[in-house]
């Protein structure tokens, strides 16, 4: 019985560790007091609380922080986690705030949101159509198809589509590489060295380096696209709609490519015009 009691009183290992850490952190955050013997010796030479040592500018006031690394997480993982957490928290806060607001407002907002979503969808199909029409035209003229073109040469109005495809391909490749362990899936035949790239890709043995520059900021890499994508959805949609009409005599809301520039029968550019 007595032993049981003693055991119950004893803190668990995890508790002890947490406590030790808490004590450590608290001590680390506490500066040495002026009662410290060393302080007196330094005061003899004119040192006052808040001063720094030496003659350099911007000398340290505080000791360097002690950070104990507890796992093998790579550089940046911690802040990435924190960022995601913060985002989730912000989102939760936003939602909470919303629900408190008046219902009318809420409905209004919702309507707006739905409208925006609809516009996003329209934009997407407008882009798809523009790309398709463009490619059809290019094929007829026997020009290069956009597949082989560098991203930057694709019309900015639908360039994002091509970019997404590249990213998807890259993700897929990376996943594949991760899933198949290196040892088990690398080329096993001696003549592999002579194999051409196509064969390798076909055999799922594409060994292109998995480092690419895709994750660089869009801003640095493709400022034109970044600028376009930064426009409000309504504006982007507007640009697409106008482009389709002028270039291909096509109306998204009629879903029809008119034979001539008059586009007779189409009530107007916007969706409302088609109501």
């Amino acid at each position: 019985m007595k032993m049981g009691e003693a055991k119950a009183r004893q803190k668990s290992k995890a508790e002890r560790e947490a406590e030790a850490e808490a004590v450590r952190e608290a001590s680390l955050a506490t500066a040495l007091p002026e009662t410290n013997k060393g302080f007196k010796m330094m005061a003899k030479f004119g040192f006052k609380q808040g001063d720094t040592l030496g003659k350099a500018e911007n000398a340290r006031k505080e000791p360097i922080q002690v950070n104990v690394k507890e796992d093998r997480s790579g550089i940046g993982l911690e802040s990435e986690k924190k960022r995601k957490l913060r985002e989730a928290w912000d989102e939760a806060a936003r939602v909470a705030k919303r629900s408190k607001e008046e219902e009318g407002d809420y409905l209004e907002d919702r309507k707006q949101q739905q409208k925006e979503k609809k516009m996003e969808r329209d934009l997407d199909s407008a882009q798809r159509t523009a790309e398709r029409l463009f490619e059809k035209e290019a094929e007829e003229m026997a020009g290069p198809s956009s597949e082989e073109k560098p991203l930057k040469d694709i019309n900015v109005l639908w360039r994002i589509r091509a970019r997404r495809r590249v990213e998807k391909e890259h993700d897929r490749r990376q996943r594949r590489e991760l899933e198949n362990s290196l040892a088990s899936r690398l080329p096993t035949l001696a003549q592999d060295q002579e194999e051409d790239t196509d064969t390798k890709i076909a055999a799922g043995r594409d060994v292109a380096p998995f480092y690419t520059s895709l994750e660089n900021d869009l801003e640095d890499e493709d400022p034109e696209l970044a600028e376009f994508e930064a426009l409000p959805v309504a504006e982007r949609l507007q640009k697409l709609l106008v482009f389709l009409r002028e270039q291909y005599k096509y109306c998204l809301y009629c879903g029809y490519q008119y034979p001539d520039a008059n586009m007779e029968g189409c009530p107007g550019i916007t969706e409302e015009d088609h109501d």
């Binding site: 001590s27 550089i75 040892a183």
Partner: protein, 788 residues
């Protein structure tokens, strides 16, 4: 200026002796020594005086080669005769270098010398020899930037020799290195380049080892050694030029030396100072040294392409293994350098890479791969292996072989390995941290700095264009890494340094001009510790004990323990223990053989603690049985032969200092039951500030005064029933540990360190109550004694 070099006795490491001799027979000897005759500044008098009978003790030392001396003199005078100090040109120097006789020794130059000379002249620094000389001659202080591979460490000191000719004024050129190994190996190399024997014209001096002689004119040394010399010779009068090499590494000693030399150059206008750095951040040095001129020599480097990972890595070790294998399977020929943080991690990684690589080879998916670990505590012979060439293909025309080196950050700057084309950088290294608030000094895995990352990347471009794979995102590189690694002075306990500075005569430590002054609390804590150790009085003045302690190249606590040990009748044992605590871990515990290693350790275990256990090991090591074949004996007992040998050497050096300072060496008889107790008490005399008390009956201990919760390190031999322990180290990992512990008694604490154990100064709590209880008990006992 008394700048004659003293001829030293055989006891070359004793700097005080030298200092003492300065006004004595040193000058006289120099005059009588034909070797040194040409030191006389007045070279017109042609002092080719060879005393056939020899003077004083000289003939007995060098008489046997008196015949050659004639030649030496004549020839060395020829080669450098027309040289006007600080007005020479590279053309003159080249002519003298071409021989046929060695300008410094007069001996014929070997073929090997000629071969090396040709290669030396291809080094990047050589092209700027004239430019260097001009700046060197014009300015007292010079900042020299030479990237790795420029040849600065080996060539610049030689350039200086030809212009400074320190031997003519009985002085030397010093070139400091942050690491012992570098000091030794560079000295060896330069001795070969100059076609002289190591320890003669070119030598080195590192802690516990001095390889210089009366002829030495170029001395490579650790920065710590030069600092120690400065303690006895505040103006460093033995040197005409001081070169601080690898200053960018910002070691504690280099930083202190810079602060000191900044003052010394004002007092000694004849002293020249060269700060050498491998990074372009040298403007900071320039600014610090009153805008000294700067000369930069490009290294021989190739472009390095840098790759980042798309997303942060969940496990950097795993990611680095994956990357290494990926490189091996897909990239062109070229060796790989992977940076990890410590021995265990490195050994583990090597094993895993080996296994995976074998699979690859078996499937013929890649050529053969050899993996080498590299870290500081690895025996030199094994360190040397990293220089062996990559393995050949398994069959003719097969896939090329490759070597992988998995290293700590020692491969970042200090070691140059040719053939590296790929660098894998997870972005971490083990770095020392010190925090004065809880007095913890630990090695912690920390993110490296941007400067470090660049340095690592540069390692890929030594032989040809290379690639560096950073296992973090570019974003993380930009935002998370600090610009420069914190200099050591910001990450160290400064007790030792403060003692040295006091001994160096620096009164006002508050305003001592360091390049990066540490936080005031660091100095505060150091002063406090030294005061409790009675090395400084309450005014901050050096005490007799403090002055004595500064003679030892040891931490103040160790030095005080050693000095006071005769009072406990065990100075022989404490001397051994101090040596053992000054070398790397003596116990070997290979991952594959832990159980057996622990069993062997138990053979030596002393129930009262690790210090005593170490002492048992040392005594056993010195036994006749072990000495019959010490290497084998160590191997059988899972002990590090190297560490024990080193301890032996350290002990000898410390013993000399003790004898010089007239500290008595004695032992309590082993049969006396107080034998071990005396040692434990002596331990308290030095380490009373590193004591912990057990909490209740639990496993946890609390450190005295700082009140940190700690656990005994799992390696301890100590049982769980010790209420009070002294510890050698407070180690931070995911848990707080105290390592190398020995049990002591509270009575001793109160008795031996009453200032520190002034009960009134303790916070209310378990420790105070316990101490109070003991104090009352002692009082009562004394009262009883009084009554009787």
């Amino acid at each position: 200026m008394a700048s004659k070099r003293e001829l030293t006795s055989e006891d070359g490491n004793s700097s005080t002796k030298r200092a003492k001799m300065e006004n004595g027979n040193g000058k006289q000897d120099a005059g009588g020594n034909p070797y040194l005759a040409h030191w006389n500044d007045d070279s017109n008098s042609k002092p080719l005086r060879v005393d056939p009978n020899g003077t004083s003790g000289w003939s007995t030392l060098y008489g046997g080669i008196a015949l050659t001396n004639n030649r030496i003199e004549a020839n060395s005078a020829d080669a450098l005769y027309n040289f006007k100090r600080h007005a020479t040109t590279s053309k003159q120097a080249s002519a003298a270098e071409d021989g046929p006789l060695n300008p410094f020794t007069g001996k014929s130059l070997s073929n090997r010398y000629m071969g090396i000379l040709k290669k030396r002249r291809d080094l990047p620094v050589h092209k700027q020899r004239d430019e260097f000389l001009k700046l060197y001659q014009e300015s007292q202080i010079l900042v020299f930037v030479g990237e790795t591979g420029s040849g600065k460490t080996t060539q610049i000191p030689q350039f200086v020799l030809f212009d400074d000719m320190p031997h003519k004024s009985a002085q030397m050129v010093a070139c400091t290195q942050p690491r012992r190994v570098a000091a030794m190996s560079v000295a060896q190399r330069v001795a070969e380049e100059m076609d002289v024997e190591l320890g003669e014209e070119v030598g080195y001096s590192i802690r516990f080892e001095d390889k210089t002689g009366p002829n030495t004119m170029l001395k490579y040394m650790t920065d710590g050694m030069l600092l120690r010399e400065a303690m006895h010779d505040n103006n460093l009068t033995r040197y005409s030029t001081i070169i601080l090499d690898e200053a960018h590494e910002r070691t504690l000693a280099t930083d202190i030396l810079m602060g000191l030399l900044k003052e010394v150059v004002l007092r000694r206008k004849d002293l020249k100072l060269i700060i050498m750095s491998a990074t372009l951040d040298a403007t900071k040095f320039q600014k610090y040294f009153h805008n000294a001129p700067l000369l930069a020599v490009p290294g021989r480097t190739h472009p390095v392409e840098i790759f980042y990972t798309p997303a942060p890595e969940r496990d950097y070790v795993e990611a680095s293994l994956r990357t290494v294998l990926q490189i091996h399977a897909t990239e062109d020929e070229g060796d790989i350098l992977l940076f990890l943080t410590g021995e265990e991690e490195i050994e583990d990684a090597c094993r895993k890479i080996n296994l995976e690589a074998q699979d690859l080879v078996r499937e013929d998916a890649a050529g053969p791969l050899v993996v080498y670990p590299l870290y500081g505590t690895l025996p030199p012979a094994q360190q040397q292996k990293i220089f062996s060439p990559a393995p050949p293909p398994t069959r003719p025309g097969g896939r090329p072989g490759r070597k992988v080196i998995v290293s700590t950050n020692i491969a970042e700057t200090s070691l140059t390995i040719d053939g590296i084309v790929y660098v894998v950088d997870p972005g971490f290294s083990k770095q020392k941290v010190y925090n004065p608030r809880i007095r913890v000094e630990s090695l912690l895995v920390s993110p490296i700095s941007k400067a470090s990352a660049q340095q690592r990347a540069g390692r890929a471009g030594r032989t040809r264009p290379g690639k560096c794979f950073r296992l973090y995102t570019e974003q993380a590189f930009k935002k998370e890494l600090i610009e420069q690694t914190y200099p050591e002075v910001l990450r160290s306990n400064l007790a030792s340094t403060v003692l040295e500075l006091k001994k160096l005569g620096v009164e006002d430590l508050v305003h001592f001009d360091l390049m990066d002054p540490p936080a005031p609390e660091t100095l505060m804590r150091a002063l406090e510790e030294l005061n409790y150790l009675a090395c400084l009085d309450d005014e901050g003045e050096l005490t007799v004990l403090g002055s004595l302690a500064s003679q030892f190249p040891l931490d103040p606590a160790l030095a005080v323990m050693l000095i006071t040990s005769p009072e406990f009748y065990c100075s022989n044992e404490i001397l051994s223990l101090t040596a053992l605590l000054s070398v790397p871990q003596i116990f070997v515990r290979p991952a594959a053989n832990r159980k057996r290693a622990d069993e062997m350790k138990d053979l030596f275990a002393h129930p009262d603690g690790d210090h005593l256990t170490m002492l048992n090991v040392y005594h056993a090591f010195k036994s006749e049985e072990a000495q019959a074949n010490p290497k084998q004996w160590c191997h059988d007992h899972f002990l590090s032969y190297r560490a024990l040998q080193q301890a032996d050497n350290v002990r000898m050096q410390l013993k000399r200092i003790m004898e010089r300072e007239e500290l008595e060496l004695m032992s309590t008889s082993f049969e006396n039951k107080k034998y071990y107790e005396n040692i434990r008490r002596a331990l308290v005399a030095g380490f009373f500030m590193q004591v912990a008390k057990r909490e209740g009956n639990g496993k946890t201990y609390t450190t005295v005064k700082d009140e940190q919760n700690v656990l005994l390190h799992p390696s301890t031999v100590l049982g769980q029933d010790s209420e009070w322990v002294v510890y050698n180290e407070f180690v931070l990992t995911t848990k707080n540990y105290i390592r190398t512990v020995t049990s002591v008694k509270a009575e001793w604490l109160l008795d031996i360190a009453p200032n520190y154990y002034d009960i009134a100064s303790f916070k209310k709590g378990e420790i105070r109550t316990a101490l109070q209880r003991v104090a009352t008990k002692i009082q009562r006992k004394e009262q009883e004694k009084g009554k009787r």
